[in-house]
Amino acid sequence: TLRAGSQCPACERPAIDLESHRQLLLDMAKRSILDKLHLSRPPTLSRPVSRAALRTALQRLHGPPQGTLQEDYRRQEYEIISFAETGFSNVNQTRLDFYFSSDETAGGVEIQHASFLFFVQLPPNSTQSMNVKVFALSPHDTNLTIASQHLLEVDASGWHQLTLGPEAQAACSQGHLTLELVPEGQVAHSLVIMGDTAHRPFVAAQVRVGGKHQVHRR
């Protein structure tokens, strides 16, 4: 607080030499941190800290919010992008196959989230309904059966995203997902699912390794 008529104490550059000024600030910084941590002096480690404890602490600092199970940190999470291979298609439907590596799907991989992304070209100022059918292998034979359907309203050209449900996630886990895109209505022919290199449809799956495997072991 300034007294009336007094001058501001810190409005001039310090008159002391730079090194003294620097040392002064260093001492202030050290004292400030120790005071705020309620420490009289820097602690000395009484016993070695395990690397695992340190790793966990760092993961908590940078990773998911505190409170998440420690085991979750040990699980690896990554994303698989699978580009479509076009199956049987005609003007009324487009069939897309997505394959996921058997190495990744063999034991212990858990699909947490999957999205289907596709590029659509529409005539200007038009909308188009589209039915997206999810096929999965029947549990009793090798035939593909419809596991679920999603009706989409596409109102503009560009990339569109559909979040896939548990049936599609299960198919991804098994290594093969088949989607069938069926335009609805009279103007079906105006809808074009782009499939060239730059616009190839794909499925992005968020995968966690270890979950199922560890559960089985227990």
Partner: protein
């Protein structure tokens, strides 16, 4: 706020980084590697004054210490160059019992300066 550059004597933020390795604290502070303390310096003429209510903090103590080491400067009528934006310092460190502790110390890093 403005950062101190060149020979301007107006109120500005001077960057100041405390490297924990340099002061020998790397053995107990795990992260970060240093403390971007920063401080405010420079003149506050009357026409730039007018930001009252700046909370007192550790940096006020810095100002007071600087006061003792400053040749009688001109204040221009009772306005001081003080921190106007501050943020916490997050620390991950070992305490006395070798526990790993994470804490946020508020108002430790000066982000911007202005005239009170």
């Amino acid at each position: 706020g403005i950062d101190c550059q060149g020979v301007s004597r107006m109120c500005c933020r001077q960057e100041f980084f405390v490297d924990f390795r340099e002061i020998g604290w790397q053995d107990w502070i795990i992260q970060p590697e240093g403390y971007a303390m920063n401080f405010c310096t420079g003149q506050c003429p009357l026409h730039v004054a007018g930001m009252p209510g700046i909370a007192a903090s550790f940096h006020t103590a810095v100002l007071n210490l600087l006061k003792a080491n400053t040749a009688g400067g001109t204040a221009g009528g009772g306005s001081c160059c003080v921190p106007t934006v501050q943020r916490p310092l997050s620390l991950l460190y070992y305490d006395r019992d070798s526990n790993i502790v994470k804490t946020d110390i508020p108002d430790m890093v000066v982000e911007a300066c202005g005239c009170s």
